[in-house]
């Protein structure tokens, strides 16, 4: 492992902003997609039960 400290890890050799924005936005988008599909499935199940 090449990281001396936690701060060094988050700094990413000075590229922290770019690296963490990339991973953060990716995580948000994928998490958001899962949430959206989950909401859609809940709505679909509800419409099914209304019959």
């Amino acid at each position: 492992m090449q990281w001396g400290s936690v701060a060094e890890f988050f700094a990413m050799g000075g590229y922290g902003l770019y690296v963490w924005t990339s991973f953060g936005v990716t995580a948000l988008c994928m998490g958001g997609e899962v949430f959206a599909v989950w909401r859609r499935a809940a709505a679909a199940a509800e419409s099914r039960n209304e019959l």
């Binding site: 492992m1 990413m12 770019y18 690296v19 924005t21 990339s22 994928m30």
Partner: protein
């Protein structure tokens, strides 16, 4: 195994439901391992510093954006050829995930481009053709939602998906065919990778993880599509009294 059994949406719904937990677990495990290897095992790149670690999401997202398009076009083609509704549903369920990964490939690419090239965006062949892919996904989804008749919507968006597949090899080979600022492939089937072992491992594990994620979320969306289509009045067959009574 009797695959014909799964060609009807009634059988597909529970079948997809049984598969989703497995693909979800595989996605979580692989992405966890990929992140660990990518951040704690893979060394710092000699020329690009730690900014290169963006490729652990950028490359898998870009691969999935092209791969999902091809899979979507294949389902669309099967749907057109066999007039099979579940195939159209698969194509419909894949499109949003493909669009999402296309967006992520472009976004993380610009996050890599700024520190490495000094520009968020350049109009080179790779970036431009990938942007066109995003517009294709959006166009296919908009075309579908703009046609009320489900069977027409299925067929029209399938034709658009099939025609657009020509862009995928253009994206893939753009770095060979033209002088692009975007670098050439570091990993290919025909040649040894030009990267350190742990870097390639992290990238490939993340890619398989994203693949498993795509299957899980696509199957989940297809289950929604099946239920939503059941709710639609069926114009194809004459309504029976019991159908109408049920719908009310």
């Amino acid at each position: 195994m009797n695959w014909l059994k799964y060609s009807s949406s009634q059988a597909l719904y529970p079948f997809a439901g049984r598969l989703i937990p497995w693909f979800t677990a595989a996605a979580l495990g692989l992405i966890g391992v990929g992140l660990y290897v990518g951040f704690f095992v893979a060394p710092t790149d000699a020329t690009q510093g730690d900014a290169y670690r963006i490729i652990f999401v950028h490359v898998p997202a870009a691969w999935m954006s092209m791969f999902l398009y091809v899979i979507m076009a294949i389902w669309a083609g099967i749907g057109l050829g066999l007039n099979a509704r579940p195939s159209f549903m698969m194509a419909q369920a894949i499109a949003p995930t493909g669009a999402l990964f296309t967006f992520l490939a472009l976004f993380t690419g610009s996050m890599w481009g700024k520190p490495t090239w000094g520009a968020w965006w350049v109009w080179d062949a790779r970036l431009t053709s990938e942007l066109i892919l995003l517009f294709q996904y959006i166009g296919i989804m908009l075309l579908r939602s703009s046609i009320d008749d489900l069977r027409r919507a299925d067929r029209a968006s399938a034709v658009l998906a099939l025609v657009g597949v020509v862009n995928v090899p253009i994206i893939y080979f753009s770095v060979k065919w033209w002088n692009t600022l975007h670098q050439g492939a570091s990993v290919s089937i025909t040649a040894a990778p030009t990267m350190a072992g742990a870097m390639v491992t992290a990238m490939l594990v993340m890619a398989v993880g994203f693949w498993m994620y795509s299957i899980a979320v696509t199957l989940a969306r297809m289950r929604c599509v099946i239920v939503e289509r059941e709710r639609q009045p069926s114009w194809g067959k004459p309504a029976s009294v019991t159908d109408v009574a049920e719908a009310r």
